[in-house]
Amino acid sequence: MKKIVLALAGIVLLVAAAVVYTVSSRHDTAEAGPAAQLTLAPGQLFYRDTATGRVGAVPLADPGAKPQLSGLKCDRFAVARQTAVCLAVKPGTLPAVTDVLVLDGGLGVRHTETLPGTPSRARVSPDGKRVYWTLFVTGDSYAQTGFSTRAGLYEVDTGRLVKTIEELPVFVGGKRYFAADVNYWGITFAPDGNRFYATLGSKGKTYLVEADYGRYRGKAVRENVECPSLSPDGRRVAFKKKVGEGVWRLSVLDLGSLAETELAETRSVDDQALWQDDHTVLYGLENAVWAVPADGSGTPRQLVGGAASPAVTG
């Protein structure tokens, strides 16, 4: 009898502790300060404020200025022209489900797609006509706790949705490539809105795939290239190069000469790089947004702290 009383008392105490902790963390994550009304006006650096999850903006010319935080919560955010995309995982969904929000120039929601997975990468094509994303999906993986990736896209003006580009016919070394474990991640479109690049991962290797959206086929042009990002002039690709297990180095590949340049950032970067312009590359690292020259010179410089997923309006 004494034991039962003791057990019940303990259980009540522990359950109460859990409930108090859970309910009190509601307040921690609650809004701090009113939300600013942001627009996609040129000259801004957008980012995800890592403390609140809200999308914030600072002037690109003066990133140290007081940031403005919107009411929009995203895990990944990207912009081009008058289109933005926000990937936000739905709270309380297990396994995770992500809302892909297509936003207009005033950050109003134009369209929503709900897809399985956890946000990883997001981009908008330079013409603002397509948004694309990469999600991590649990389950169809090869290790018990492994993940696979699913890269998809949405045509803003036609409403066409490609849930995954896994079915893209692809050629490696001139031969059509088939494998059960094909994964794609990190799509990047050229200014013409047709040519695009992505990472193909299969059998422990990664390839840079160059593809034609209209003809819907692609070919591997180089090995060990992950998360490509095409420069505004469409001639170079910034990417992360695997230099060790779980260690990546930011590099730039000249598509004409296939010459590779390692950037001045020596730390491991696990992000899809973003071109601020033809000379500077931005990326998220260690809870901050950084900038580094695209030609391998100079040193990295921190733009905004407590930030991730940079996006710029040109």
Partner: protein
């Protein structure tokens, strides 16, 4: 001497049949409750950890999968150590309790680790160590608390309760995420509180080693001597050999998904399907094992898996075939997991029960890990279907050989 005695009582089983729950001791039910509550705690972390790593910390989960595989191998050693220390100190409950306690504290460790990847790695390793330490002593306690003729039923009841916990874990995690507006640390903290409840239940209601123990010295030499005993060695060896030709869960689900083109949203339901069948059949198959013999049921489970693999690769891909294959996968678990422990238990002297069970489990676990690597290789070389068919053929051959060898006589 003891072994012979327990085997005769095994042979006498199945004659008198009392109602099910009366034959399962209070200690087994208490251990089942501890496992149930612990599984709620650990499964809620398992469910949110990937989300936390990717969204909260911005990690690349592909890399984390690798790390996780590494831990699985490392805990094999800890498992035998836990079993051995429990026997040596004659403190099964204490060692199991330490394992449960360590895993509970690790949930707080996840809260404290913050965004440090290294700290999270250390915490997860410690969590796995706790799991490795407790499993052998716990199964030894179940085995020692049961009448020899009802071992299968006892393990069935324990495993069924365990599975209920695994079902509840993700649901509790979802509720916490909804209540806390998506705070991961709330999930970890709640997980700690629930794990602490399990430790409390263990401390209050589980009794250490009932009955009088044989006064044989429990030394490292005696533990190694276990492997010199023919009966025990044969069971351990066959269990490991069968483990080597067993296709891992994730591969089974993967084949199901590829052939039946299951939408990703439904994919997580596949493990739930297996667990559901396991939950329903754990007790009946445990009872069946007590009546007709544990080894035949254990091998029958492998036959079910073999059949499931053949169905998965057959010419037809109807919906019903997929459901049957998934059901057979559940049968495989219900007929093997607890039943193997029930089969091995009586072959191990009471004083070495925890060590012996840990040795059998470790052999099986290492073999299954190796099998995953080999299967992954075969898949890469030959593609999925030929690899599955080859695995099914190997499984059938080894299971047939094991049936002819009959390592457990009754």
């Amino acid at each position: 001497m003891y072994i012979a005695a327990s085997r005769t009582s095994d042979l006498a089983a199945g004659t008198d049949r009392k109602p099910a729950l009366k034959r399962v001791s209070a200690n087994v039910l208490a251990l089942g409750a501890v496992s149930l509550v612990t599984d709620v705690s650990s499964e809620m972390v398992t469910a949110v950890l990937p989300l936390y790593l990717v969204l909260g910390l911005g990690l690349n989960p592909l890399q984390f999968g690798l790390l996780d595989g590494l831990y699985a191998g490392a805990t094999a050693v800890v498992r035998v150590l836990g079993g051995h220390l429990a026997d040596r100190w004659r403190r099964l409950k204490a060692v199991a309790g330490f394992g449960y306690g360590l895993s509970a504290v690790c949930k707080l460790g996840l809260v404290a680790a913050g965004s440090s990847v290294a700290a999270i790695g250390v915490v997860l390793a410690a969590d796995r160590t706790g799991k490795g330490l407790r499993t052998g002593p716990r199964d030894a306690l179940i085995s020692l608390s049961s009448e020899p003729e009802a071992l299968g039923r006892s393990f069935g009841v324990h495993r069924a309760m365990d599975t209920v916990g695994a079902f509840l874990g993700p649901l509790v995690a979802m509720a916490v995420l909804a209540l806390s507006l998506g705070s991961y640390t709330s999930v970890f903290f709640t997980s700690f509180c629930i794990a602490a409840i399990a430790v409390l239940l263990l401390a209050l209601f589980v009794h250490d080693r009932p009955g009088v123990a044989d006064r044989t010295a429990v030394s490292l030499r005696a533990a190694l001597g276990l492997l010199r005993q023919q009966d025990f060695r044969r069971v351990a060896l066959w269990a490991a050999l069968l483990g080597l030709v067993t296709v891992g869960d994730s591969f089974v689900y993967l084949v199901l998904q590829r052939r039946w083109d299951i939408a990703a949203t439904w994919f997580p339901l596949l493990p739930l399907g297996t667990a559901g069948v396991y939950l329903v059949l754990a007790v009946p198959l445990g009872k069946l094992a007590d009546r007709i013999g544990r080894w035949p049921v254990f091998l029958g489970g492998h036959a079910a898996l073999c059949l499931a693999l053949v169905l998965l690769c057959g010419p037809q891909a109807g919906l019903w075939l997929g459901i049957i294959a998934l059901g057979l996968h559940g049968v495989f678990y219900a007929a093997t997991d607890g039943v193997l422990m029930a089969a091995a238990g009586p072959l191990i002297p009471r004083d070495l029960r925890a060590t012996g069970m840990a040795v059998v489990q470790t052999g099986q676990a290492v073999a299954r890990m190796l099998s995953s690597v080999l299967f992954g290789l075969a898949w890469t070389l030959w593609d999925l279907r030929p690899a599955v068919l080859a695995a099914a053929a190997c499984l059938a051959a080894v299971a047939l050989a094991a049936a002819l060898a009959k390592p457990v006589r009754p």
